[in-house]
Structure formats: C-alpha cells, structure tokens
C-alpha cells in the first residue's frame, strides 16, 4: 500500500456517522437541501461541515450576506396602509380637501402627515394651493399600487441583488423610521475537494464496521472483537464544563490562614459588630479622633453595648485622660457613653485588644505570651467605586513576648509576604494612635514595577498594653488589608468585582494556586 492509500484508509476510519450521512449528499450542493434530505438540524450540519473542513474533504466558505427586511413600522403600514396611501385615498372622490381637514380625517400623526404630503407632492399626485390639497391625477392612476408598496411586499430581498429602481426605493424608505432594516446573515457554502471526491467514491466500498461509543454491552458480550474503533478527532474542542469551587477570596484567605498556622499562630475570631470601646478606646484612639466620626465609621442605630469589667474600663479611661506609665495621655474628659456605641468593626485590631484583655486576666504571668492571628471582614463608611468599598478584608496578627522587638516584627511580616509571593518588602514610618513605632508595609510588584501599599503595623503603645495586660509587654501588631494582594493575584482591576458574585466569573476564575 502506498502512503496515499494509508491516508485514505485513515480518513475513512475517522468519519463520524454524521459525516458518513452527509458525504453522499454533498452533490446536492445546497446546504438547505442537504439539511432536508439528511433530516439534520442546522447546528449538527454546521458541526459536520466543520469536521469535514478540518479533514480537508471540503473547502468551506462563510459568506456574509445582507438582506433587506421589513421592520416594525413597515409591517404595521402593510396592514393599515402607508401614510401617503391613507392621505391619497381621501382625495379619490372629492379631489380637493383643506389641509386641516385632511390631517384630521386621515388620522395621521404630524410627522406622518408631513411625510405623506411630501411624498405625494414629489410624485406629482397632488399640489397644495392656498391651504388645500388638490388631486392632480385620475382616480385610476391614484389607486394603482406605489412602487414602495410593491417593494415592501416583496421583502426580504438580498441587498446585493437589488436593481437600480429597487435601490432607489430602498434608499428613500431607509430614511423613514423603522420601515425597513438590514439583516446580516452568514451563509455557509462549500466546495468538494479532490480528496473529498476520492473519499466519496471510496465510501460505498468501505465495509468495515466501526465502533462509536464503547458500551457496557459490547464489553460484556465481546462484540467489539473484529470491529474497528472509529478514530476521533482528538484535537476538536469539547464542550466546557464547570466544577464546584470555593469563592476565590475564601481560597486566598484559607491560604493566609495556613501560613499563620504554620508559623505557630493561634486564630482569633469575633463579631463584626463591636462595642466602640474595643475598636477605639482600648486602642488609645481619642474620642474626638476623626476616624470615629460617622463620616468614616458605620454606627448601628440606637444601640448601646456593654463595657467590660470596671477595672479595665477605669484603666482605659485613665490612659486617655491622664496617661499611664509616664505617658501624658490625651488630656480630655473620657466618656463612657461614647465608648458604648455599637459600630461595625473598622479593623480586626479590636480582636487583638480583646485577646490582650483575656491574657491580662491570667494569674500566671508566664502565660502572658503567645502569637495570634485573624483574617476577617472590616467596614468603613465609603461609597462604592473601583478602588473603594465599604467592606474589606484584613489580616491581623499579634506577638506577645517579653523579648519581642521591632526587628522581629519585620521578620514575621517579611516571612508572611514571601509566602504570599512578594519577595521584596519595604517598611516605611507611619502613624497610628495605638502603635509606636508604627509603619506602613509596601511590597514590590515585580511585573508592574511599583510599590503596593498594603497597610500598617507596629508595636502597641504602653497606653494600650498596660490597661489591658496590666503591664508593659511588647506586643508586635499588624493589620494590613488583604484585598489588594488578592486582586493582584487574580488580576482584578475593579474592587467591586471581588464581591460581584458573577456566576460566569466564578465558574471560570482560576484556583488559588499557592
């Protein structure tokens, strides 16, 4: 056997039942006829043509053709008559009519009336003399169908095939509202190739029995023996499927959680609504600090929460009013009522404050140490746009140890961000009411070549730790935002897309592969 014959044999082995049905019908040339004879719907037919084209048995050409079709007003006018027809019919018998009267009796809108009159004048069917319309032609002439009417009735017509006269009519009708429109229809045509002709010739002689889908029955009975498996086109696209998956933000959060746990941190959780005391006062944020204004923070209407035990409240009050441990404090009158207001937490640092208060109650001083983390939603009173949202994620961490220092803080953060995929990290001085020293964490984006600001960190001030813990133990703390790193990973540019819950997006978005 020579090589060509092998190819032919191969080709015959790869024909699907659909292709085998169509091949003998190809001589019909018209797609519509093939569809009719083969009893095939257009979708299957198109697919089969695609396959045959891929195998080089036919040469496919897709042709876009434009058709003139009747539009909504056109349909309406075909039933009720064109405005010019309706106006003209008023004049059949009386030959002359006042403009106002004609307008009223024709039932046309101002616009239609103007057009109708214009058309009739142009056709020289009527003329207007001193406020009256006069019929200029015989009744017989006037009752004949207009070319426009004939044209509308004959639609659809292919644009390319219009004659000069029809083209003129079309141009005129096109200027009127919704009478006609153009539809573009793509039509497939084909030519049988030399190879195709050979296959068509060979096909009736090809007697091998092909196996399509292998069935359980064939396996059990062994009926596959002596038959040939049809060759599939393994390169053709399979229809898409979608699996179940976790929300991409939650996948990223789970990863962050894993990093902290690997590094020996214990998870802190807590409510989203918080008493102001924990979110602000315990964190040495003065009661007149701008961040506490309704403009920035969500306050829950009418509710006043419970404060912790008196000892802590008194200590926090003292830190604000007079300071502790040699600090001067903010020097103002601290009000319990303000601290009781309920807010939606503005940072997860309130969870750290609560953790410190719990540790502060431990009898055994040796236990006042540990490493804790949280990842959670936080809120701010913001409008929604591409870079702002009223809900966002923060990842929080504290390290509580007598020997903890600033360099350790840098160490933990560097390690965390390295695992998040940011190898170059920069720490710049910053300010927060509750940490000193304070810093802003920025990471280098290797592709965009920019520094990304991620959020703050620092060592809790003694005015925070002493009232809660009862003594000054260095507490390294951080609470950078998390959304930015997620957006960067998934290459999301608009923050709103993070929580849009677009099912198509969720089905297609990649897994968090870290």
């Amino acid at each position: 056997m020579n090589k060509k014959e092998v190819d032919l044999e191969d080709l015959l082995l790869s024909l699907s039942p659909l292709e085998r049905t169509i091949l003998p019908l190809l001589h019909l040339s018209s797609v519509d006829k093939i569809s009719e004879q083969g009893k095939l719907d257009m979708i299957s037919l198109n697919r089969a043509f695609q396959f045959l084209g891929n195998k080089n048995l036919i040469k496919l050409s897709k042709e876009k053709r434009k058709f003139v079709k009747i539009d909504t007003n056109g349909i309406l006018y075909l039933k009720k008559g064109l405005p010019e027809r309706r106006l003209l019919s008023l004049l059949f018998d009386i030959k002359k009519i006042g403009l106002g009267d004609a307008k009223k009796r024709s039932g046309l809108s101002d616009n239609e009336f103007a057009i109708a009159l214009g058309v009739l004048k142009e056709k020289k069917f009527v003329e207007v003399i001193t406020g009256s319309i006069n019929l200029k032609v015989s009744k017989e002439e006037a009752t004949k169908k207009f070319p426009e009417e004939k044209f509308l009735e004959s639609l659809p017509l292919e644009l390319e095939k219009l004659n000069e006269k029809e083209k003129n009519i079309f141009q005129k009708l096109k200027t009127r509202k919704d009478l006609v429109r153009i539809d573009e229809i793509s039509k497939i045509s084909f030519e049988i190739t030399e190879l195709g002709k050979k296959v068509i010739d060979e096909l009736p002689k090809f007697k091998k029995e092909l196996i399509e889908q292998l069935s359980s029955d064939m396996i059990k009975k062994g009926t596959w023996r002596g038959k040939v498996f049809r060759k599939y086109d393994i390169k053709s696209r399979a229809p898409e499927i979608y699996g179940g998956k976790r929300h991409f933000v939650n996948q990223a959060i789970d990863y962050a959680r894993k990093i902290w746990i690997e590094m020996g941190f214990k998870e802190m959780t807590g409510t989203l609504a918080q008493v102001s005391f924990w979110n602000f006062d315990a964190l040495f944020t003065a009661q007149d600090h701008p961040v506490r204004e309704m403009h920035d923070t969500f306050y829950v209407q009418e509710l006043k929460g419970k404060l912790p035990d008196k000892k802590i409240v008194k200590a926090v009050k003292g830190a604000h009013e007079k300071g502790v441990h040699g600090s001067k404090g903010w020097k103002y009158e601290w009000k319990e009522d303000e601290a009781k207001k309920i807010i939606l937490r503005t940072h997860t640092t309130c969870l750290s404050a609560k953790t410190l208060a719990i540790l502060g109650k431990l009898k055994d001083k040796k236990n006042k140490r540990g490493k804790f983390f949280a990842v959670g939603k936080c809120f701010r009173n913001e409008t929604l746009d591409w870079s702002h949202g009223f809900e966002f994620y923060q990842t929080e961490g504290i390290v509580l140890d007598k020997n903890a220092n600033f360099r350790h803080l840098l160490g933990y953060l560097q390690e965390f961000y390295k695992k998040m995929g940011f190898n170059k990290i920069r720490f710049a001085p910053a300010y927060f009411p509750y940490t000193e020293p304070s810093m802003e964490i920025t990471v280098w984006h290797p592709e965009k070549k920019v520094w990304l600001e991620l959020g703050g960190a620092g060592i809790f001030r003694p005015e925070v730790t002493i009232p809660l813990l009862g003594e000054f133990i260095p507490v390294l703390a951080w609470g950078p935002g998390f959304d930015r790193a997620i957006m960067d990973y998934y290459q999301i540019k608009d923050l709103r897309e993070m929580y849009k819950n677009d099912i198509n997006q969720l089905r297609k978005i990649k897994f968090w592969l870290k």
Partner: protein, 541 residues
C-alpha cells in the same frame, strides 16, 4: 490625613529634589506623594502638625539629612510695654484659654499670605478638630491698640464687620447669616456668651473660633507686624500650637516677642515659651524594643537627626512637638533616624503551637462536601439595601446610621442575598447551584453588642425542586455525621406543603423547601428554586 503642597521653588532653595531625596522623604515618615514643575506633595500624619508649614518641614528634614542637626534655637524677646492680654473670667464657660505672641519685621507677599492662611486651615482641620479644640487668629498689629482683652460677651453686644463682610453684624447675626458663621456656628451653640478679642480702643478683633474682623483681622502686603492668638480648651496644646506658628514666622525672618497673659483665674504667664521639655530615656529600653545594640553616643547622634538635643541621659524635646506622650514616641524617632530600611528583619524562635479556629475547620469541611457536589461558593456583603429587605419580606431590621451608599441594613438571613445574586445572574447558564456560609444579624439584649451574629449556611439549586434539595441535605448530614428531624411547616417565601423545618434537639435550626413563585417574580427569577438555610452554630458546637 493631610496632603501638603509646597512650592517646589521654595523647597529647592534648601534641598534639591531627586529620586534619592524622594525616598528620604518617605523614610522620614512623611510619604512622598507626587511632584510637578510647581509643587511637591507630601503626606503629613496627624501626629506631626509641626511639619505642616514649609518652614517647619524644612527645619526637621534638614536635620534628618544631617545638615542642621539638634534642637533649633530661637531668640524670643521679652514683652514690651502693653504687650499684654487680659483674660476675663467670663471666658471660662465658653473657651477658657488663649496663648498669644507678637512678631515683627515680617514681609508679606501674596504667596506668603497664602502660606500663612494655609497653615492655619491645616491645623484647624487636623490638630484643631475643625476649630473645636484650637482656633488660630493672626492680625495686623498696625491696626490694633494694645493691650488686648479676651472676654465673653452677650452675642447681641458683639458688633463688628466680619471678614469678607460689608456691614456690621452682631454675634447672632454672624452665626445665622455669614457663611463661615453658619459653618462653625455649632461650636458656640447653646452658649449664653461668645468669646471676643478686643483692643484697648474697643475694636473687636475677632470672635473665636468663628471669624476675624474685616478691619483688624486681615493681613495685607503692607503688614510688617502681627499679633497671633490660639484659643481653645487645653492650655498646653495651645502653647505648642503657638510655638508651631511663631517658629514658622521666625524662620521667615520675623522677630518674636512674648506677651504677658493676665489670667483673672490663674497665674500670669508669658507666651510663647520655647523652653524644651525634658524626658529621661533608658538606653536599655531603646535597644530592647528596637532589637539593636546602640551606644549612648549613637543615641545622641540619632536624636539630633530628629531635631532633639540629648544631655545627661535626658532628651530635650522641641517645644513645638505635640506628639511626644511617652518614651516610645522618642524611640520611634530614633528608629526613623536609624532608618527603617537599615533594620535587619529577624524571625525569632518563640515556640508556639499554631491553632485554627474550630468553626473554620468545620466550615471548610462543609464547603468541601458542597464543592464536591458541584456547588459554587458565593461571598456577599453583610449589608443590604432597604429594597432587598422588602423583597424578601423583612419590614424591620438593624439599621446603620448615615451610610454613604444604599446599603444600610445588617442582613437578617442569607436567603435575601442569595436571591439577589441569582437575580443578577439570569444570563448565566442554568442550572445554577450556589452556596454561602456567612453571618446573619439579629437583635439580642443578652449579648455584648445587643446584636447576635450567627454563622449560617445557604444552598440553592435553580432549576431545582424539593427532592433535589433534600438529597443534598441528606448527603451533607450523612457526611458530617449530624442528625436532624424534618417536620412540615409554613414559612414566608416558601411554597406550602413543600417546606420543611430542620429540627435539632427540639429546636428549629433551619428550613428547606421550594421558593414561592410570587417571591421569584419579585426578584425577576424565572426558574424554580429549591433552597436550604441552616444555622451552623449548633452543628459547630
């Protein structure tokens, strides 16, 4: 957050700006924002109002660059005759303190006048808490007859032409009619008397913290000498604010004079006073907190870079620094001077055992079961709009005050957000199978916040029916080894006869069934929907 704009030309008289300097600016604790031909923009954090003026910034930044280190010295002249402010007891109930100074030999041009107004406004907005805590007034001395009185008067007895005004008005009229009066009027609300500065000729200079007089309270290009006052409630902070202003004027070339403040209700005092505050610092504390091994001479050097002096184990703090409350504030400045980028990060060996929250573990298991069944997890906001609430039959809820968006209710259940999501996805291919684990909110007086937050799970299948959702429920409970009973119920949003409540230990903890077509229509949903919503708190515990 304050972004200041300095003239690039003025700035570059002292420091030429290049990439290295931009980096230095950020590492000084004042993030560099942007630069063009005319302006450089820098962010100043609220703890450093002394850096808001170009003069203050340059003074500190030059020291940081090692050019003019240590505590900057200024000569302050003693008060001349009549350099006096008499403070009447009547101000005690309304705005009790003022700190004042006189500066001579100044030159003003348009640029400079703008700078002076700018720094006032910046301090008002930040440290001054919108003039509540601090209001600053600067007046041309040539129009004033010394000494000055600071007193409180009945509003109708206060009569002067306010700044940018044409007619004389009384105190009340200013609050009601003048634009600045309307803006800041609330600061004097409910007060029987309003504070005023009056000169010996009886001219009213200003009514703090609202407005100056058009005649005596406006600096022009002809002004050479000024009277400065800061009024408010905390004498200490006022004195420091005054120091920020007068050192700025001194750096402009002005000659600063003290004034005698005769308080009727406390001891006489001279302001301004640039006597530095002293604070002891402990070398060991510094090294321990920063993880460094600095010697005393290093500390001295670093402190001088931040504009301090260091003598006899004591730090001399510039009298214009408002932010030094504790040793740690100085330690931060030492760290900044050392350079945050010069610290070697270290991962210490503190042995602790990591631990994930139990709830999270269970939530992840449940998610695993559901994603295995081809469900997609969604993640919705915790806030809903009033419209969303209404469509799911919630008439009342926990409301947020003054939300900037329409989202102002804490969500009472997960069904509402699930329906919302599905209604926004009618163009996505069906079937749609989604789930969410999230928090729902309910008022409860017994909790700390008076709000109870519970973790719930919602599962929806559309198109879906009771059998399908029941299958999911059975599989989920089997896989998580939990036991429930289901009993018939009637529930809002659900079709009667196809709704079950999920019971555990005699208590309802969830619901499952088919959603009523009237609800689906309200959300413009055209496919049948089966759903399950269950409280996870019980399961988790």
């Amino acid at each position: 957050m304050a972004i200041v704009k300095f003239s690039r030309k003025e700035f570059e008289k002292y420091v030429k700006i290049n990439d290295k300097i931009k980096e230095k600016i950020s590492m000084f604790g004042t993030p560099f924002e942007s630069i063009d031909k005319k302006e450089i923009q820098i962010e100043i954090f609220p703890n450093r109002p002394d850096l808001l003026s170009l003069q203050g910034y340059i003074r500190a930044f030059l020291a940081f660059l090692g050019k003019k280190k240590g505590l900057r010295q200024y000569s302050i002249k003693k008060p001349e005759k009549n350099y006096e402010v008499k403070i009447n007891k009547s101000v005690r109930d309304v705005r009790p303190y003022t700190a004042c100074a006189i500066i001579k030999k100044l030159k003003f041009d348009d640029e400079r006048i703008k700078e002076v107004i700018d720094i006032q406004e910046k301090i008002h907005a930040t440290l001054g808490r919108n003039r509540k805590k601090i209001a600053i007034g600067i007046y041309p001395l040539e129009k004033i007859f010394l000494p000055i009185k600071y007193e409180a008067r009945k509003p109708e007895d206060i009569k002067f032409v306010p700044l940018e005004g044409k007619r004389e008005m009384n105190g009340l009229q200013i609050l009601q009619k003048h634009p600045t009066g309307k803006e800041y009027g609330y600061l004097l609300e409910g007060k029987k008397k309003f504070p005023v500065f009056v000169d010996v000729a009886g001219n009213i200079l200003s009514m703090p913290p609202i407005i100056n007089s058009e005649q005596t309270g406006k600096i022009t290009k002809n002004t050479k000498e000024v009277f400065v006052e800061c009024s408010g409630f905390d004498f200490n902070i006022l004195k420091k604010t005054l120091n920020i202003i007068i050192t700025m004027f001194a750096d402009m070339g002005g000659e600063v004079y003290q004034m005698r403040l005769n308080y009727g209700f406390r001891k006489q005092e001279l302001t301004p006073n640039l006597q530095p505050e002293k604070m002891k610092i402990n070398l060991n504390n510094i090294n321990k907190l920063l993880g460094l091994d600095l010697k005393e001479k290093d500390i001295k050097k670093l402190l001088e870079k931040m504009g301090y002096d260091y003598r006899n184990k004591e730090v001399l703090i510039p009298a214009w620094r408002t932010d030094i409350l504790h040793e740690v504030d100085i330690i931060e400045d030492i760290a900044i001077a050392y350079g945050y980028d010069n610290f070697e990060p270290e991962l210490p060996e503190i042995s602790t055992v990591g631990e994930e929250d139990k709830k999270e573990i269970i939530k992840r298991k449940i998610s695993g079961v559901l994603t295995g069944l081809n469900f997609i997890e969604v993640s919705s906001y915790h806030l809903l709009t009033k419209q969303d609430m209404k469509k799911s039959g919630h008439r009342a809820g926990i409301e947020i005050e003054k939300s900037k968006t329409d989202y102002n209710f804490l969500k009472p259940d997960l069904l509402c957000s699930a329906l919302k999501i599905l209604s926004e996805n009618t163009d996505a291919e069906y079937p749609q199978k989604i789930f969410e684990i999230g928090k729902v909110f309910e008022k409860n007086d017994k909790t700390e916040t008076r709000i109870e937050e519970r973790d719930k799970l919602i599962i929806t299948i559309t198109p879906g029916n009771f059998t399908q959702i029941k299958q999911i429920f059975d599989y989920l409970t089997n896989m998580t080894d939990t036991k429930f009973e289901i009993s018939e119920t009637i529930a809002h949003n659900f079709i009667e006869g196809r709704t079950g409540r999920i019971m555990m230990e005699g208590k309802q903890i969830g619901i499952l069934g088919e959603i009523h077509p009237s609800v689906l229509r309200a959300w413009h949903l055209k496919m049948p929907l089966a759903c399950l919503e269950i409280d996870l708190e019980k399961i988790i515990s």
